[in-house]
């Protein structure tokens, strides 16, 4: 990979993304959501002991958990395979840019385009909170910013992997949807709860839960609260009852990042060793 090729593709892909309506709708959606939460007075309500800006950030993260994984997957899986289908790849890879520069340039451009609006919305909430004299829970802010970055990185890696392995955009989108459904099915409320009810070994349940990046993210969001079974669900409760908070926070940031990198690396390995069109 060359630095020059990587930066050229990164800039090109950023410029391309900034010219799509989807990017602006996505940015306005999250910015608008934060504004709406302030207007609707959510900072004055209470959830598991949290009020004010902390309450707002928790709600924001819960929304992110629902929207971001599927949004990242659906957006990113069309990236490489889409470029193949619409002749962008044929042309761009006739230029002196290595396959890896092309791949990682696109990867990090997409990371910036997806993560920065979330971070801006987060910062916007904090700044507005400071203006209206709310206490800023900085520990939550840093934790959630890191968790969001890790989650975006994770699903970006999975998305790029799918995009390299599939031959049409339709199939790529379908695959992304199926993977998302499987991950959702392995959250507390569905399969995890059922597994505990069927008296499957709790360690096995925890193992499955800890492998699921969505579950890790969900528990990570709740890690600073007092663990209560009714609000967290069985697996999250068991995990936080078993593992120390510090260890789990580190795990919740490192594991999804490594998982995303592993998938992205495997995608790049195939991309550069096969026919690229």
């Amino acid at each position: 990979m060359t630095k020059q090729g990587f930066l050229a593709i990164l800039r090109l892909d950023l410029n391309q993304s900034l010219r799509t309506k989807g990017f602006w709708i996505y940015s306005l959606l999250f910015g608008g959501f934060v504004a709406y939460m302030f207007i609707s007075g959510i900072t004055e309500s209470q959830i598991i002991g949290f009020v004010g800006l902390g309450r707002l950030l928790v709600t924001f993260m819960q929304v992110c958990m629902v929207i971001i994984p599927i949004y990242v997957l659906i957006t990113v899986v069309r990236s490489i395979v889409g470029d193949k289908e619409n002749n962008v790849m044929e042309y761009m890879l006739s230029l002196p840019v290595s396959f890896s520069s092309f791949y990682w340039g696109k990867f990090f451009a997409k990371f910036i385009v997806i993560y920065i609006p979330l971070l801006v919305a987060f910062f916007g909430a904090v700044i507005w909170g400071m203006i209206i004299s709310l206490d800023v829970p900085w520990n939550l802010f840093w934790l959630y910013s890191s968790l969001l970055a890790a989650m975006v990185f994770c699903f970006l890696g999975i998305g790029m992997f799918i995009s390299v392995y599939t031959r049409s955009q339709e199939f790529a989108v379908s695959s992304a949807f199926v993977i998302w459904l499987i991950l959702v099915a392995f959250l507390d409320l569905l399969l995890m709860g059922m597994m505990l009810k069927l008296r499957i070994n709790p360690d096995a349940v925890i193992g499955v839960g800890m492998l699921n990046p969505l579950q890790v993210f969900r528990v990570g969001v709740l890690v600073l609260f007092d663990p209560k079974l009714t609000t967290m669900g069985p697996a999250a409760y068991y995990i936080l009852d078993t593992v120390s908070r510090g260890v789990f926070i580190a795990f919740a940031i490192i594991y999804p990042t490594l998982l995303g990198y592993l998938f992205a690396w495997l995608g790049n390995k195939r991309f550069k060793n096969r026919d690229v069109i």
């Binding site: 090729g5 050229a8 800039r11 391309q16 010219r19 619409n86 230029l95």
Partner: protein, 219 residues
């Protein structure tokens, strides 16, 4: 080097490319040198585009292929610094013409004005279109811009896949006049269905059919 003392720029021996066990290039051997202007002709599915993509390092293959004495898969970037390519279908890029100019200038270390000058010689006034997205340009304008980028690199090998398909007759005439006076030391490979149109421009005709070279004639 050939008997005439020219450098061999594209050298293939036993080049074979298959997709799902269907051979699209069959045991192809070519030796194309500096200064040659080759018309690569053939029906759809003859293997022209596949051969070009192998040369560009975009496909894996069996057999031997050397571009500028290098391996097109392992040394792609070095090779492509010396290769200009114009595709049959322009990519639907949403970036503006100005951003494209910046991109090509950054990659090739050639001032933007150089590409602008060539585009103007081809009859494209870039100044009026700098803020327009590339995808919003007319087919002819896109093609002229891509040709400007390909020629602006002063490549040793110029590959063009149906480059005049989107040009109107007058633009086509200007384009071929321009190509006719292009660097005589470069190897020019023009893939086309319309042999009559490019016959005055080339000195060698290579016809492909079902992945094989069926005619190879020096004019």
């Amino acid at each position: 080097m050939t008997d005439s003392g020219k450098d061999v720029l594209i050298n293939a021996r036993g080049l074979t490319k298959a997709f799902n066990k269907t051979e699209v290039l069959r045991d192809l051997s070519v030796e194309w040198s500096a200064g040659e202007r080759i018309a690569l002709i053939g029906q759809n599915g003859a293997g022209k585009t596949t051969l070009i993509r192998c040369i560009l390092g975009q496909y894996t293959y069996d057999g031997t292929l050397e571009i500028l004495n290098r391996n097109p898969r392992r040394e792609r970037v070095e090779i492509l610094k010396e290769v200009g390519f114009v595709p049959q279908i322009p990519p639907p890029l949403k970036i503006t013409v100005k951003e494209m100019l910046n991109f090509f200038s950054e990659l090739s270390h050639i001032p933007k004005q150089h590409f602008v000058d060539i585009a103007e010689k081809l009859g494209l006034q870039i100044g009026n279109s700098l803020s327009k997205p590339f995808v919003a340009l007319s087919g002819g304008m896109k093609q002229k811009l891509l040709v400007s980028f390909a020629l602006g690199k002063k490549p040793k090998i110029l590959l063009m896949d149906e480059p005049s398909a989107n040009l109107d007759p007058s633009a086509r005439e200007i384009f071929f006049d321009f190509l006719g006076s292009y660097n005589e030391e470069a190897l020019l490979v023009l893939s086309s269905h319309r042999m009559a149109e490019i016959s005055g421009l080339v000195n060698r005709v290579v016809e492909m059919d079902f992945g094989e070279i069926v005619v190879d004639k020096t004019l």
